[in-house]
C-alpha cells in the first residue's frame, strides 16, 4: 500500500528493525504462545527459503507444533 508507514518500515533505507518514525520494532513475548511481531515481515527459514506476510502483526510459532510453521496456528493450546 502506498503511503503506508508499514511499507516504509519494510524499505531497507529505514533499517530492518525500525519503522519510518525511527521507533524500534516491537516484539511481544509470552511463555506460552507465539511471538507477536509488527508486520510486514520476511522470515528466512533454516533451509534458506523465505516467507513473508504483510499483516499488521504476525504471530510466530515458538512451540514448533504449528502445521503452518513459521506462523502460529494455535496448536500451542492446552488439550483437554
Amino acid at each position: 500500500m502506498p503511503n503506508d508507514p508499514c511499507d516504509a518500515a519494510a524499505d531497507d533505507s529505514a533499517g530492518p528493525a525500525q519503522d519510518a518514525a525511527g521507533r524500534a520494532r516491537r516484539i511481544s513475548m509470552q511463555r506460552r504462545g507465539p511471538l507477536l511481531v509488527e508486520g510486514p515481515v520476511e522470515i528466512e527459514l533454516e533451509d534458506g527459503s523465505t516467507v513473508r506476510s504483510d499483516r499488521f502483526r504476525v504471530a510466530l510459532c515458538t512451540c514448533r507444533r504449528s502445521r503452518r510453521y513459521p506462523w502460529c496456528d494455535t496448536s500451542h493450546r492446552r488439550k483437554a
Binding site: 500500500m1 507465539p34 507477536l36 506476510s53 504471530a59 503452518r68 496456528d73 494455535t74 488439550k79 483437554a80
Partner: protein
C-alpha cells in the same frame, strides 16, 4: 436505479410479528404491538426474523423500503420490545462463567475429541453439507466484521487502536479483493452458491438469525460495548482451530481453491487476531473501564450459547440425513464444457 429500490428482497414472513414488520416496511399495514413481542418465543423463527428485519435497515436495507425507515421512531419502539424479549431470555438462559479469566481459559483449551460442526464436517462432511453450511453462514460472512465496526467510536486508546487494526485486516488491509466478506463470496462461488447479499436469509434457520442478531444487538448499543468485545473475542479465539478443520473439509471434498483459501486465511489471521483481541482490545478496555468485565463475560458466553444451539440444529438435521435449511438448496449447476477454465481462473486470482 433509485437507491431504495436496490438491496435484498424482503423475505417471506415466519409468523405474526415478522408479517406485521414486513407489511409496515412495505407501507401496507400496522406494526405489531409491543405486547405481541413480549409473548413470542424469544429464539423462535418469528421473533428472530422480525428483529433481523429491523437490524438489516442499519446495514443494507431492503429493496422497496425507504432509507428513512432506519430511524422510524415507531419501528424503533418495536425493535426495542423485540430486543427486550431476546436480551432478557439470553440473560436468563446463558450459563455465565464466574470471571473473565475463567471464560477465556475455557475458550483456550482445545478438546481432544471435539464434537462440533467443524469436527463433523472435517471428518465426514460431504459437499452438500458444506454447501448448506456456507449458505447458512453467509448471513454473517457476507457482512463479516461490519457489526464490530460499530464499537470503534465507543472505545479509546489501546483498545480502539487494536480493534481498528484487526478490523482493517478483516476488511482486506486496504485491498477490496482481500476483504474477508469478498473471500467468502469467492468460496460461495466455488460451492455453486448465489453470492447475492441476503440470498439465503429465507433458507436460514432461526438459530442462525439469532447468532447475527446478537452481533447487531451488541454493535448497535453503546451500553453493550463490553459484550461486543467479548463476543468478538469468542469468535476470534475459536476461529483458528475451527477454520483448520473446515479447510480440511474443503480440501477433502474438492470444493475448490477459493473455498480452501477462505478458511486457510482464517487459520493464521485469527491466530493473530485472538492475541491482539485478548491482550490489546480486552486489556485496553479493562484499563479504561474495569467495571465492564462482567459484560465481556456475558458477550463471550452468550455467543457460545447461541453457537451451540446453531450447531445442534445443524448436526441434528444432518444426523437424520436431512437438510438443515428451511428451504433446501438447488442442486449445483453442471458447468458447461468450456466454462470451468474461465471459472477457475477468476477464483484463483486472489490466492496468488
Amino acid at each position: 436505479m433509485n437507491d431504495h429500490l436496490r438491496g435484498p428482497l424482503l423475505p417471506p414472513s415466519r409468523g405474526p410479528l415478522s408479517a406485521a414488520v414486513t407489511s409496515y416496511l412495505r407501507g401496507t399495514g400496522p406494526l405489531p404491538r409491543p405486547a405481541d413481542a413480549a409473548a413470542a418465543d424469544p429464539y423462535g423463527d418469528d421473533l428472530q426474523l422480525a428483529l433481523y428485519l429491523c437490524y438489516e435497515l442499519h446495514y443494507r436495507g431492503f429493496a422497496g423500503v425507504p432509507p428513512e425507515a432506519e430511524w422510524d421512531p415507531e419501528l424503533l419502539g418495536v425493535r426495542a420490545a423485540l430486543e427486550q424479549r431476546f436480551g432478557s431470555a439470553l440473560r436468563a438462559d446463558t450459563p455465565v462463567h464466574d470471571s473473565l479469566d475463567q471464560a477465556l481459559a475455557a475458550l483456550l483449551v482445545e478438546p481432544v475429541e471435539g464434537t462440533g460442526v467443524s469436527h463433523f464436517l472435517s471428518a465426514e462432511g460431504e459437499l452438500w453439507h458444506l454447501r448448506e453450511y456456507a449458505a447458512v453462514r453467509s448471513l454473517y460472512h457476507l457482512k463479516e466484521a461490519d457489526p464490530h465496526a460499530w464499537v470503534l467510536p465507543r472505545l479509546w486508546g489501546r483498545a480502539k487502536a487494536a480493534m481498528a487494526a484487526v478490523e482493517y485486516d478483516e476488511f482486506g488491509g486496504g485491498r477490496a479483493e482481500r476483504m474477508h466478506a469478498r473471500l467468502f463470496a469467492d468460496l460461495m462461488r466455488d460451492l455453486d452458491l448465489d453470492t447475492v447479499y441476503g440470498r439465503y436469509l429465507d433458507a436460514a434457520p432461526a438459530e442462525m438469525l439469532a447468532v447475527v442478531n446478537l452481533m447487531s444487538l451488541f454493535g448497535l448499543h453503546r451500553e453493550l460495548r463490553g459484550a461486543l468485545v467479548g463476543h468478538f473475542a469468542e469468535v476470534e479465539i475459536t476461529s483458528s482451530p475451527g477454520s483448520r478443520r473446515l479447510a480440511e473439509a474443503m480440501r477433502r471434498t474438492g470444493a475448490g481453491p477459493a473455498a480452501e483459501f477462505f478458511y486457510d486465511e482464517h487459520v493464521t489471521a485469527d491466530a493473530v487476531h485472538e492475541q491482539v483481541v485478548r491482550h490489546e482490545v480486552i486489556g485496553g478496555l479493562l484499563e479504561e473501564e474495569p467495571e465492564l468485565a462482567p459484560d465481556i463475560v456475558f458477550g463471550i458466553d452468550a455467543t457460545e450459547y447461541l453457537e451451540e444451539r446453531l450447531g445442534r440444529r445443524l448436526l441434528d438435521r444432518w444426523g437424520a440425513g436431512r437438510s438443515a435449511l428451511r428451504t433446501p438448496l438447488a442442486a449445483p449447476e453442471q458447468p458447461s464444457p468450456e466454462a470451468p477454465e474461465t471459472h477457475r481462473h477468476r477464483q484463483m486470482s486472489h490466492t496468488s
